[in-house]
């Protein structure tokens, strides 16, 4: 465990040095992400100037939900996106050999190598939105609720990570998964909506079959309404299911990997 922590810390150091080399890029991309986050918050503000609730969620409850969605997305982008994006490309070009030769778990090595600091820096802003909304709602969550919220956010990142690993692993079978990867990002839009807003078939697909809506709704609801045993247990189960599926598909994929001629 300590061995992997040391490897990960070395990756962090490498990513920090790299970011310092391209400072202008870091500032520009952080601004871009910050602006997009503001646009999403503005949408909530504008709608709530004309209505009092959306599917039973008040303005600041909705802000808390959007803040949670942004927090999860920033963590996913910051910790895993660059490595996962490169993994697909490496499988296509044959550079994936590099990871096979490393002394450690291949999935860990291939998916945690690069950190995106501009994604991570904005997680502070997203966290700020969550705290601000909680204050506006007059919430006083217990320490257990806060820890549980943090764990649920971690589980949500894990679920998204697993889904992305599955999509990227498809490049072991099909050549180009870039369309699918960007398609997955469209699903993030769903995570900013309350699950009560979904009706009929969309409720079945986006709330139950795909975990895109619950990943944000359950953590936000824990902070707003407190601990819910059924939701928490179900969420933990979903996390184990998706992560297990990702590990299986990734390792099945490696068996098909045939490198590229040099």
């Amino acid at each position: 465990m300590l061995y992997y922590l040391n490897i990960w810390l070395a990756s962090v150091r490498y990513s920090v040095v790299r970011t310092m080399m391209f400072r202008f890029d870091f500032i520009l991309w952080s601004t871009v992400e910050f602006f997009w986050m503001s646009v999403n918050l503005l949408l909530v503000t504008v709608i709530y100037t004309h209505t009092d609730d959306i599917a039973g969620w008040s303005k600041y409850e909705m802000m808390l939900l959007v803040g949670t969605a942004m927090l999860i997305q920033r963590f996913l982008m910051g910790f895993f996106w660059s490595s996962l994006f490169e993994m697909g490309r490496n499988v296509r070009t044959g550079n994936f050999d590099f990871f096979l030769a490393q002394p450690g778990n291949i999935m860990f090595m291939a998916t945690t190598r690069k950190l995106d600091l501009d994604g991570l820096i904005n997680s502070v802003v997203a966290g700020g939105v969550v705290i601000y909304s909680a204050m506006q709602l007059g919430l006083q969550p217990s320490l257990t609720d806060v820890i549980l919220y943090a764990l649920m956010v971690a589980c949500a990142v894990m679920i998204h990570y697993s889904a992305m690993v599955i999509i990227t692993s498809l490049s072991f079978w099909i050549t180009n998964t870039q369309g699918l990867e960007s398609g997955y990002f469209t699903l993030f839009e769903f995570s900013r909506l309350p699950r009560q807003a979904f009706k009929g078939i969309t409720r079945f697909v986006f709330v139950w079959a795909l975990p895109v809506v619950v990943v944000t709704n359950i953590p936000a609801e824990i902070l707003i309404h407190g601990f819910n045993f059924t939701d928490t247990l179900w969420f933990a189960g979903v996390t184990v299911f998706w992560f297990g599926l990702a590990v299986i598909i990734f390792h099945r994929g490696i068996r098909r990997y045939s490198s590229a001629s040099s």
Binding site: L28, V39, L43, I47, T51
Partner: protein, 269 residues
């Protein structure tokens, strides 16, 4: 004149062929846009639960606005024209145009029209599939002046869309990488072009400021005219300002092209 038209007719046909190659890409993009439409429908129908009107418009009018935006996006939106122009400048591909009697702006604009014909027709496929689910939410005003003003405003909006993309492409003469600028501008255009929410829902003073910016005319304005969100007086006034922005942006394009060429170095044979 006829010779010039003939020249660009061939460019159009080549553009059409090369874009038909990417038909699956456009089709996939169209189907992904349906997911965005599901998000919009879910959010706004939930917002309309407690009230019959938001900003003076009912749920059908607001949904029609968003469907119209989607159609316009595929018919006039600049997709990756900025990157293509940037690539041509960076790779030196524009050198060939400097030696031929071809206007680079007109050439790129013709390719853009060809690309939008293909993508515009392809978005109709997923929309036709979604039609049974959304038909109850569609309502169009029956005033004829809306079509008379709406159609030219679509063409002008296309020119604004392309001109902004062209300007960003021109930045490659000064900066090697334009991706950050483009995405920052995309966020601004998404917001002030009315793609996140109809601009008329913003506070009155913000709505008035947005009317002075080109983004208002590149998407919101034609959609608002055609779906009945603005009245005739505001539509006529808007069309005049829109023409003003087209002239201004075309002038800026010429300026950036001539200034950029002074910095451009054509290397190799």
């Amino acid at each position: 004149m006829l010779g010039t038209l003939n020249k660009y007719r061939h460019v159009f046909l080549v553009g059409l062929q090369s874009n038909i190659v990417y038909r699956w890409n456009f089709a996939l993009r169209g189907f992904i846009s349906l997911f965005h439409l599901i998000v919009v429908f879910t959010l706004w129908t939930a917002a309309y639960q407690g009230s019959t009107e938001i900003g003076g418009f009912n749920v059908q009018q607001t949904m029609t606005y968003f469907v119209m935006l989607l159609v316009l996006q595929f018919f006039i939106g600049a997709f990756n024209e900025d990157y293509e122009i940037s690539e041509e400048i960076r790779n030196g591909l524009i050198n060939q145009f400097l030696l031929k009697p071809i206007n680079y702006f007109t050439y790129r604009f013709t390719i853009y029209i060809a690309a939008r014909v293909v993508s515009g027709l392809l978005i109709l496929v997923p929309l036709l599939i979604a039609f049974p689910f959304i038909k109850d939410y569609l309502t169009f005003p029956d005033e004829l002046w809306r079509i008379a003003l709406g159609l030219p405003s679509i063409l002008l909006a296309g020119l604004i869309q392309f001109s902004i993309a062209y300007c960003f492409g021109m930045l490659t003469f000064w900066f090697l990488e334009i991706q950050g600028f483009v995405i920052l501008s995309l966020a601004l255009e998404t917001l002030l072009g009315g793609q996140m929410f109809p601009l008329d829902l913003m506070p009155d003073w913000v709505f008035k400021i947005s009317q002075c910016l080109p983004f208002y005319y590149q998407m919101y304005f034609p959609a608002a005219v055609l779906t009945g969100r603005i009245d005739q007086a505001l539509a006529i006034q808007g069309l005049i300002v829109q023409i003003g922005w087209v002239v201004l942006l075309l002038g800026l394009n010429c300026f950036l092209w001539s200034r950029g060429l002074r910095r451009h170095t054509a290397v190799g044979g």
